[in-house]
Amino acid sequence: MSEIPSSAATPLAATTSPTSIELSEKEITQFASQFDPQPYHLDAAAGAASIFGGLCASGWQIAALGTRLAGDALEAQGMAFVSLSSVDDMRWRRPSFANEALRARVTVERVESGSNVPDCDTAHLKVDIVTEALEILAVMTCAAAIDNGKQRS
């Protein structure tokens, strides 16, 4: 397993996911009616009247999509992303509205052997979930499980 020192003198480069995902209003309200049925995630008028200023996606939908995109960014670097195992810190910076194309910008800070996910190593990441205009919607400091190739069968 290669060790990338977190004290590297040069800042580590961020990789942006080759993929992007756009949430339609329908997908926002579908997720919300299933998992987060609060007025500002379900209804345009209620969203406009809320602290968010418009119908916006559940923060959990953004976290899940951002994680999928972060996985794509890791795959593009040749790392076999399996799952997240922990999140030290996640902040929602601004609401995510319909029809914004999202990408994940991922920096791998270090990789260490072992994970609570079987047959995986741990990659410590900084993930920014961004729009095409590179506005930051959410930021995560997290640990991802990366397949270490030792799985039997």
Binding site: S50, Q61, V82, D88
Partner: protein
């Protein structure tokens, strides 16, 4: 008969140390596959047959699905206590999450029970109107094993704001 209103309260009225067991959910294979197909398309989460031969020896719920259900249970719980309330006491947006860990796999048929405890209140005032409430949230399976935990800061409207 007096009733206890839990959410229908201002920031000032929510006591640190308050503890709630607020909901349970039994995860089905179908809903796990549906969630993962969109958000975590790895075979460990989407393909019950293939997953048997993979790292967890069976399908497991994708991490954010466990948290999405946390959110649903929380909204349902708050709705019960916020009936008839249509002001700032009703909805508090989430600001940030910390110390989130998924500790054990959740498999089809597992029943997960969610708890939270109020662990802190910040002195900060957001937009002249909102205070910040911190809570520790935990989820346990039917064997009593902790499967997930995190802390979250949410906004709660201050009285007279």
């Amino acid at each position: 008969m007096s009733q206890i209103y839990l959410r229908n309260r201002w920031f000032e009225d929510i006591p640190v140390g308050e503890f709630h067991v607020f909901g349970s959910h039994t995860f089905s294979e179908l809903e796990m596959v549906e969630f993962a197909t969109r958000y975590a398309p790895q075979p460990e989460f989407t393909d019950p047959e293939a997953a048997r031969e993979l790292r967890w020896r069976g399908l497991v719920a994708t991490p954010w699905h466990i948290n999405a259900i946390w959110m649903r249970k929380m909204v349902d719980y708050m709705e019960v206590y916020a009936q008839g309330v249509n002001d700032g006491r009703r909805n508090g947006a989430g600001v940030s999450v910390s110390a989130l860990a998924w500790l054990e796999p959740v498999r089809p048929g597992h029943t997960v029970t969610y708890t939270y405890e109020i662990i802190g209140k910040s002195d900060k005032v957001i937009r002249d109107k909102w205070g910040i409430i911190s809570s520790r949230n935990e989820a346990f399976n039917q064997y009593g094993t902790k499967v997930m935990s995190f802390e979250i800061d949410i906004l709660a409207e201050r009285a007279g704001a």
